[in-house]
């Protein structure tokens, strides 16, 4: 029997791992996009856990839509990424700092 606590703690770890990835990754833009996907995965799992324990389908419906949005988001993110690579020939995060101050 899976318990609510343990499930939520697992997703919390997953969520914090993706946050760490976002903060510590300083070189590859594409990994940042993957971290975003990971974050959404954690959130989705959260919803499914609650949906399961509440016996309520609404959580699953929410996940269904988050998946759709995440796919759309990935498409746009990758498009911007490609533009950046085309223009600057690099996707190094630490070189993207002309805007500051």
């Amino acid at each position: 029997m899976i318990t609510l606590n343990s499930a939520l703690i697992v997703t919390a770890i997953l969520f914090s791992l993706s946050l760490i990835g976002l903060v510590l990754n300083r070189h590859n833009l594409i990994v940042l996009l993957m971290c975003v996907e990971l974050m959404l995965l954690a959130v989705n799992t959260n919803f499914i856990i609650f949906s399961h324990f509440l016996n309520d389908l609404a959580g699953q419906v929410f996940v269904f839509f988050i998946l759709a949005v995440a796919a759309a988001e990935a498409a746009i993110g990758l498009a911007i990424l490609i533009l950046i690579f085309r223009k600057q020939k690099t996707i190094n995060v630490s070189e993207l700092n002309t805007l500051k101050g």
């Binding site: 324990f53 309520d56 839509f65 746009i76 498009a79 533009l83 805007l99 101050g101």
Partner: protein
């Protein structure tokens, strides 16, 4: 259960999105005016439809996913009107900067549809979908100037941090869903209201994440960092777009979430907002002082204005919420004009960027300089402009709920704020222009900017109607719960 009359404006905009898309595919590059005209027509039509159904009493629609009420309608109207002006100001910019044929209009309309969904959302699901539908086109709009490195950098920053914020918001919503067992705003409010003395910690835990997501979208410290970079890097027209209507929509979302859904947690979110608001007002005003880029300066001032808007929520009374809404509308008009003028001044291959670009504007086009002065006065909160009344009503709401110290801080930093606005006025009026050529505008742009500037004055001298409207929205009984 499914009342299609109540979502007529949304349906109309959606149909027109398809029409604009198809028309844009088949018309020639030079007949681009058709796309523009259709876009503006969509906004006008949506406004008319919204007005037609305005008087229908508050109803939850589509099994509670969306709600029809006066708050939503008023916010929608504000969105149409400001967006109408946005497209009017940016029309030339889109053409000159080679930002594609009809794409900006198409993306803009999609974003507006998202805002409409957002402000009348009555369920976490629609709230999230509306938010994403609003944001995704803006990410694209920011990157649409594909040859400009800064625009791309701004777009990816906005995108990644925006996704992070969405994820934080969702994480928070998932906690609230888990604790309350529902996604419906009214039901969640009822669950929380039921045991109002002692909430499970998980609510507070979720609340912080929700507030973080909201604070990101409004652009508040410490979730503000995207804002100056995006405002600066984005093409001027995109900055104009994202500075105005989305702000209104996000404040609408804040009202839905904090005021309608989580009033039971008011004590907690008040504390959070106080910290965020004070930090924002201070940071926004202080950092704006040392900026040389006008868009960046206005971006920091946006952060400060966001802090001011929160003051109304902190007051936590109907008067406070209506003051916050009034401030939001005032801010929308002000930033519309200010960014609008920056967009209008940009020429082919020349974006107005630094404050020096405005040098001697008075010699080149006195009327435009005068309008800009009015707008800046209003942002600084000097009478007799709308900005003054907006600040006044906020302070009043704060003082009447005994947050006098907060009101004092707000006034103090506002005084600091006056400095950088006046600096721009000084540059416009007392410095010699770099380029002596008189600057002329198309008639429609001239008229729009005149209406915009005079609105600042009109609502400053006769604020009664707008204030009353805002107050009525928060009378008990007009809201669904």
């Amino acid at each position: 259960m499914f009342n299609f009359t109540l979502i007529l404006p949304e349906l109309f905009v959606l149909c027109m999105v398809c029409v604009v898309m198809l028309v844009d595919l088949f018309v020639e590059q030079r007949q681009q005016v058709l796309t523009y005209a259709l876009t503006q027509l969509t906004l006008v039509g949506a406004a008319i439809l919204t007005l037609c159904i305005y008087c229908i009493p508050t109803t939850a629609n589509f099994s509670g996913l969306t709600v029809h009420d006066h708050l939503g309608s008023v916010l929608k109207l504000a969105i149409y009107i400001t967006s109408f002006f946005v497209f009017l100001y940016s029309r030339n910019y889109f053409r000159q900067q080679n930002m594609g044929k009809g794409e900006p209009y198409l993306l803009g309309l999609c974003s507006i549809l998202g805002m409409m969904v957002l402000v009348s959302a009555h369920n976490f699901l629609t709230l999230y979908l509306g938010l994403e539908l609003m944001s995704l086109p803006i990410y694209a709009l920011t990157a649409l100037q594909r040859d400009k490195e800064q625009a791309l950098e701004a777009a990816i920053k906005y995108f990644i941090l925006g996704a992070l914020a969405s994820a934080l918001l969702l994480y928070g919503l998932s906690m609230i869903y888990g604790a309350s067992g529902s996604l419906d705003i009214t039901q969640v409010a009822n669950v929380i209201g039921a045991n109002s003395t002692q909430h499970p910690l998980i609510f507070v835990f979720g609340l912080v994440f929700v507030v973080a997501g909201l604070a990101f979208k409004i652009g508040l410290v410490p979730f503000h960092m995207w804002l100056p970079d995006v405002y600066t890097g984005a093409p001027n027209a995109a900055t104009l777009f994202l500075a105005v209507a989305p702000k209104v929509a996000v404040i609408g979302m804040t009202i839905r979430l904090l005021v309608e859904c989580l009033p039971g947690l008011q004590v907690q979110w008040q504390e959070l907002l106080i910290v965020i608001s004070v930090l924002s007002m201070i940071l926004g005003n202080f950092v704006a002082i040392v900026q040389t880029n006008i868009k960046r300066m206005l971006a920091y001032s946006t952060i400060a204005h966001g802090g001011y808007i929160l003051l109304g929520f902190i007051a936590g009374t109907a008067a406070g919420y209506s003051a916050a809404l009034f401030y939001t509308l005032a801010y929308a008009i002000m930033s519309l004009g200010a960014f609008g003028i920056i967009t209008l001044l940009s020429k082919q291959g020349f974006d107005v960027e630094t404050i020096e670009d405005l040098q001697g504007l008075n010699d080149r086009n006195p009327w435009l300089a005068f309008m800009m002065m009015l707008l800046l006065f209003s942002m600084a909160g000097l009478p007799p402009t709308i900005g003054f009344f907006a600040k006044l009503s906020l302070i009043e709401a704060l003082v009447s709920t005994h947050f006098v110290w907060l009101a004092c801080i707000a006034m103090l930093v506002a005084v600091i704020g006056v400095y950088y606005y006046l600096r721009v006025i000084k540059v416009m009026y007392f410095d010699k222009p770099l380029d002596n050529k008189p600057f002329s505008l198309a008639w429609d742009a001239k008229m729009a900017i005149t209406i915009n500037g005079l609105a600042i004055l009109y609502f400053g001298i006769f604020p009664g109607a707008l204030i009353t409207l805002c107050q009525q929205l928060f009378w008990s009984g007009t809201m669904l719960n």
